[in-house]
Amino acid sequence: MIAILDYRAGNLTSVQRALQFLNFPCRITCSQEEIRNADRIIFPGVGAAGKSMDDLRELGLDAMLREAIQSGVPILGICVGLQVLFDYSEENDTPCLGILPGKVRLFPRDMKDAKNERLKIPHMGWNRVVFSRRHPVFENVKPESEFYFVHSYYPEAADEADVLGRTEYGIYFSSAVARENLAAVQFHPEKSGPPGLQILKNFCRWNGRSPS
């Protein structure tokens, strides 16, 4: 059973629907017991970092996540579920889980594209991820694939070893990260068409071991 962590963040059902489509049994839950017994955990999220951290703490899921990371069970973070893994987010000036070193910052307001047009915020729509190394969760994904993003804050990993892929939107940011049994993406694989579904399928079959 795959546990989809329920901490009152939006968009949980779309992850569930994608897994159901792929025939992987899953359950949206905030029960510590169910999460502890899960074969793997998906940590989704839409919303603000501040409220997400408050809700995680209130439900005791921050400690739960740390425990799960120690246990070696495969974990996939999505969007805000990636962002709160870092030390800190500028959104609501929020201290986060500190599982990965790095920060989450607001896109600068004055970014311009190649034609000197102002870049809109949120970064909303389809963009590429340039992978710098291989990982089981991102196998069988064509390098020119694009993924659906929607966010106003971007992750900046401090440890190069955690970064799997980067995306360009005015600046380059860490859009896919991984460490040991943890993988996380800034985009929404459940809304990214066939390549997104491939990533979910890969995660559901991953043994949690990262290539050294």
């Binding site: 968009n11 102002r118 809109k120 963009n127 694009e146 809304k191």
Partner: protein, 259 residues
Amino acid sequence: MLSKRIIPCLDVRDGRTTKGIKFKDNIDIGDPVEMGRFYYEEGADEIVFYDITASSDRRPIMLDVVRRVAETIFIPFSVGGGIRTLEDMRDVLLAGAEKVSVNSAAVLDPDIIRQGAQAFGSQCVVLGMDVKKVPVSAKIPSGYEMVINGGRTRMGIDALWWAKEAERLGAGEICLNSIDADGTRDGYELQLTRLISTSVGIPVIASGGAGKPEDLLDVLSIANADAALIASMVHYGTHTIAGIKKFLDENGVKVRKTW
């Protein structure tokens, strides 16, 4: 670099699309769920379902459509038409839509934008704008006025002011429809699109007037739209999404080519 989005729009009445797609074998298919799936596989970047159901007691049929669409397509889709209250928004989002579009109701009661953004996040709230070109006046300094009821009722509100106000209230995106261009297939209203798109910091989807791939090229490059809504040019099989994207790509517009 972000791709420009190509978004087919399906008009749904009582659970059926009002214009079926003519597939290659010329069979009309009016099931919005099948049509959504068809465009998903064709490479649509997003899909808009516009509910033109006349009576509100037929609304549950639309929610059922949304639920069935959400089970089979894995790209963002939005639902608009007749959204009046926070409850309406919640129903559509819980049924599986990513975004919900408010139009007339927001002009009449702008607070719905703020409430929606607060409850569900700005990324869920699309402001639909129906706009008509009018003579420049003290009241309408941009020369573009907000209209409702398919253009029949002029609201005395300046479209440029309203776009900025909606952004301030928390709209995450604007779907900008020119009533003058709508249905003409003569091209988008480029001046209006450029005016709004360069004045707000949120993405703008251009709507109304698409007839050929060149029209999308103009609106996505000259007018700086972030996305383009298309309807009859693909519904009748005159053009395909892949063909439109190939044309845009050859002309220097960044689009998503692999799916």
